[in-house]
Symmetry: C2
Subunit: 134 residues, 2 copies
DNA sequence: AATTTAAATGCAACACGGTTGCATTTGTAA
DNA sequence: TTACAAATGCAACCGTGTTGCATTTAAATT
């Protein structure tokens, strides 16, 4: 009942099926929060070539299967689901205590009046604070 | 008339006066936009030891002389002025064309209702789009 | 089932941002 | 002038992310 889901997802996105990709999708499904390269590597002790993993992450992101998040720290994190653009906007909450990054769906996007000559395309909101677990 | 300013700033913040620090402040004053390590290094061809520069950047930030910004790219940028916290909030505009990062003062902070158990401390807004120069 | 082909992998090497330890130099205050 | 803490320079290191290239593998074609 687990392999079924990833099978379908990969098929629908026109991505070749490999062990790593199945494992990756399983991992994204089961973890609730955004995952860094280090997180994923640790979780998938097996089969983890750095470049392969990165290439798959970008492939997944390009296919709209995951989206990447840049919190204040220098590391990119990835979360399941499409990117927060055009109607799919959502903010990200970064816990200052446990460093966990949450996707916050259903937040009203702020309206801003930017200076003349500037054209805003998308707004990225990052909220820092203390999460419910801390 | 240029050295005067940096002299005062360093004194007020209780920071030792060095050539590099004067140059750094001059650079921050004259450039309008956020500066990455690479930007600064290129501008200050002279006297640029990597660790010294980084140590000064963090010292300046800690002293409230500059503030750091993390746009989508993995690189940290620094801009003159205090950090946008508690009443000093301001958003950052990242031009998708020229990569320039602008500090946008005077934007209304968005109000958000986050889930129960979460405590928001500060909100960081990054606007992507096309700047007035592009 | 055997063949073919494009895509995915593994590996090594690299670029770059950023940090740390330590010996030396320099600013500043006594 | 002396003395001490702070700043510098240097080298070595770590982690993220990328790239080129040879090899393997998934999946479509015969
Ligand atoms: Mn998200
Ligand atoms: Mn700013
Ligand atoms: Zn937490
Ligand atoms: Zn621009």
């Amino acid at each position: 009942m687990d392999n079924q889901q990833s099978e379908q997802l990969l098929q629908r996105k026109g991505l070749k099926k490999t062990k790593l990709r199945h494992a990756l999708i399983q991992h994204f499904i089961k973890t609730q929060h955004a995952q860094s390269y280090a997180d994923i590597k640790q979780a998938l002790m097996e089969a983890t070539d750095k470049s392969t993993l990165y290439r798959n992450l970008t492939a997944f992101e390009h296919a709209g299967l995951i989206h990447s998040i840049n919190d204040y720290s220098g590391v990119t994190k990835y979360a399941f689901g499409e990117a927060p653009i055009q109607g799919n906007e959502h903010a990200h909450f970064v816990c200052e205590c446990c460093e966990t990054v949450y996707c916050m769906d259903g937040l009203a996007p702020l309206q801003l009046d930017i200076p003349k000559g500037f054209r805003a395309k998308r707004v990225q909101t990052i909220i820092r604070g203390i999460c419910a677990d801390c």
